[in-house]
């Protein structure tokens, strides 16, 4: 599903990603762990096509296609979804109108009919239950004045609605209490399926108790310094990031 080959990338003018190779097959869940500043968000931003980041070497294939050539919205419509570490507040734009527009943009791209207001509402209500999202958040502006937990639920709600093929979750767990963490994890687990790949980025092992990964990679200094099974997360938790060493 996702093949990252010798990826080097800059944030602004600063080289941050320094040679990453990673393959995630359909149905697999991979976790990336690593200390703050190791380049986790940079990697997810590069995959989503955020302006301000540039790839200097290497390539990324998504379902066999060159991902880096696609504009952000085409990546989204083709099924790449990034749950933001810091979801953006957008005053004046209604959350529910935004979600409907987004779902229909993706549906149209897939050759499906647009959902009308009624259909959208009923689908949306069902998914909102799953992430235990209060209904008044739909009539508010996007993320405006949402608590940290509400913003993350809104991200997962979007993921549930858009039904992407590649889900990238950038520290969706950070700042969440244990209840919110459980809800978010349940949302993610509900999305696990044989034709869907997931990349779960986290700083703590905690999330991986709920979302059990197939593979765990440790990112440090812009490189993957270790890869292993799910037990690697436990090791990291016990020993901290100190022992992994720095690639340079």
């Amino acid at each position: 599903m996702l093949e990252i080959k010798n990826l080097h990338a800059n944030a602004g003018d600063t080289p941050i990603i320094k040679g990453i190779d990673l393959n995630i097959g359909a149905g697999e869940v991979h976790a990336i762990m690593g200390p703050n500043g190791s380049g986790k968000s940079t990697l997810s931003n590069v995959l989503a096509g955020r302006p301000g980041y540039s790839v200097t070497r290497g390539e990324v294939l998504y379902a066999g296609q060159n991902l880096l050539d696609m504009p952000t919205e085409i990546r989204a419509r083709e099924g790449v979804f990034l749950a933001f570490q810091y979801p953006v507040e957008i005053p004046g734009v209604g959350n529910s109108y935004f979600l409907k527009t987004s779902v229909n943009a993706v549906r149209t791209h897939r050759g499906e009919d647009e959902l009308d207001a009624m259909d959208f509402l009923s689908i949306c209500e069902e998914k909102m239950k799953l992430v235990e999202m209060p209904s008044d958040l739909m009539s508010r502006s996007i993320n405006e004045g949402f608590s940290g937990g509400e913003k993350k639920r809104n991200e997962i709600l979007q993921m549930l609605l858009l039904e992407p093929k590649l889900c990238i979750l950038d520290e969706t767990d950070s700042g969440l209490d244990i209840d919110a963490l459980r809800v978010v994890a349940e949302g993610v687990n509900a999305m696990r399926s044989p034709d869907r790949a997931m990349l779960v980025i986290t700083h703590y092992q905690r999330l991986l108790d709920y979302i059990v990964p197939d593979r765990v990679h440790v990112l440090s200094g812009g490189q993957i310094v270790r890869s292993g099974g799910k037990e690697l997360a436990g090791e990291l938790e016990a020993k901290g990031y100190g022992w992994i060493g720095n690639p340079e």
Binding site: P71, E73, A76, G92
Partner: protein, 459 residues
């Protein structure tokens, strides 16, 4: 064009005045005021960019277009009716209109107007000419000329000298007018100077909504050519609540110099909304005088410009008494070569304690060539006050743009949505569903041309 010896626009108007005054069908009280006002205008001349208040307003366009003074004749009712009717059929109007008044080039058009109210709780009284009915006012109505003096402002002088067909809108004490009163000022596109004049009195304890809607005639080719120099004086009496909505949606050749002055008594509330959506050059002079304790004014404005449009808002809030409140939010979206000016002055007089005032001006520039000149100002002569002010100029938030695109929205859709989000709070503040959706539709239309024309503009 002509070199030295060219007659200036001001001179043209001054020369045209005697014939106008002969022709116009006046009550004596108005005639006397006209003469005085013309003397003031001759003294003042037209403003120019060397005057601080007019520094950023390109009035040179007036000298180029030379809009002639009105003749003073009242057009025959048939042609007024035809022009008015066509314009009404052409332009979208709100679903729920209560009373309405239609003015064509300032001339009151009784056949298209209706003020429905039991026992004259709501009345429109023409100043003189048009209605030869017994309703016309025979003496100078109290308040006329009290809030805007021809001695200080050339356009006030000009309006007072050449006004035709205006009138007094009177809301009786304790009357609650449910539906909006819609006043439509139609510019026929004659190219002339037109001076609409209005006096509004919201009686003690009354509640009403007044829409002042400026639009152009119906024909495809009608771009509202001419100069509309309107002046409104609005008195809000004790404990009254008035919502006043000014909509400027003239054609692209229209020049609009508006002056709206308000005076509020004790515990009154005024909501003043200005939507500047059309016209080539628009200038709004807005003055709010909080003349007694407990008075509250909420001013909101939105200006949307594209092409070579120029839009000015000059506000002055005068906190003349303690315990008064003012809120101002002005927002602008400017694309292409559009220009905007915001000058806001909040004045707190000595001994006017316990003032609560805020003022903000936010601007979104959609192109590198668009410009806004913004200067919110405070002048405080009392110490126990709560005042805030500020202004911003910016482009669309790149983070927000990326967020929307990462959810599948195309870049143009994302830009449009963010721009709509930026202006949303101004429309949302309108009371009443019918009026709100009417304003929203007009704003969306104007925004679409701002955004559309600026699409692909360099970052």
């Amino acid at each position: 064009m002509k070199g030295a010896g060219k007659t200036s626009l001001a001179e043209t108007w001054i020369h045209a005045f005697p014939a106008f005054a002969e022709t116009v069908n006046d009550a004596p009280w108005q005639r006397a005021l006209r003469e005085e006002a013309l003397a003031c205008f001759s003294e003042l001349g037209l403003p120019h960019t060397k005057l601080e208040a007019w520094r950023s307003t390109p009035l040179g366009v007036l000298e180029r277009l030379m809009p002639p003074a009105p003749s003073g004749r009242v057009p025959d009712p048939e042609s007024l009716l035809a022009t008015g009717r066509a314009a009404l059929a052409q332009h979208p109007l709100p679903e729920a209109i209560g009373s309405r008044g239609v003015f064509v080039d300032g001339h009151y058009c009784p056949a298209l107007s209706s003020f429905e109210s039991e026992a004259s709780r709501l009345q429109f009284l023409p100043f003189s000419e048009s209605a030869k009915s017994d309703q016309a006012i025979s003496t100078r109505p109290p308040g006329f000329g009290e809030l805007a003096s021809p001695k200080q402002d050339a356009f006030t002088a000009l309006n007072t000298a050449f006004a035709q067909g205006g009138g007094l809108l009177e809301i009786a004490p304790n009357h609650f007018e449910q539906k909006p009163i819609h006043l439509m000022f139609i510019a026929s596109g004659s190219g002339e100077l037109v001076c609409p004049r209005l006096l509004v009195r919201a009686g003690e304890g009354s509640r009403a909504t007044v829409v002042m809607d400026f639009l152009s005639g119906a024909e495809e080719s009608n771009h509202g050519k001419g100069l509309v120099n309107e002046l409104s004086e609005i008195f809000v009496e004790e404990n009254a609540t008035l919502e006043c909505i000014v909509i400027e949606r003239e054609g692209i050749e229209g020049l609009h110099i508006g002056n709206l002055q308000t005076h509020q008594k004790r515990d009154s509330r005024l909501h003043l909304h200005t939507f500047s959506l059309g016209g080539g050059l628009v200038r709004n002079e807005l003055g709010a005088r909080l003349a007694d304790t407990g008075a509250e004014v909420h001013m909101r404005g939105l200006y949307l410009g594209s092409g070579n449009q120029h839009m000015d808002n000059h506000t002055l809030v005068d906190h003349a008494m303690p315990h008064t409140t003012s809120r101002q939010i002005y927002k602008g979206v400017l694309g292409e070569n559009a220009r905007g000016v915001f000058r806001g002055l909040v004045h707190v007089r000595p001994d006017a304690q316990k003032i609560d005032s805020s003022q903000s001006n936010m601007n979104l520039l959609l192109s590198d060539k668009a410009r806004i000149d913004t200067r919110p100002q405070l002048e405080i002569h009392a110490d126990d006050v709560k005042c805030s002010h500020g202004s911003t100029i910016g482009k669309l938030d790149e983070e927000a743009l990326f967020y929307l695109r990462s959810r599948g929205l195309s870049e143009p859709d994302a830009r449009a949505l963010l721009t709509e989000g930026f202006v949303a709070e101004i429309c949302d503040a309108l009371e009443g569903d019918s009026l709100r959706s009417f304003a929203q539709a007009l704003v969306m239309d104007a925004l679409a041309s701002c955004i559309g024309n600026s699409a692909g503009a360099p970052e």
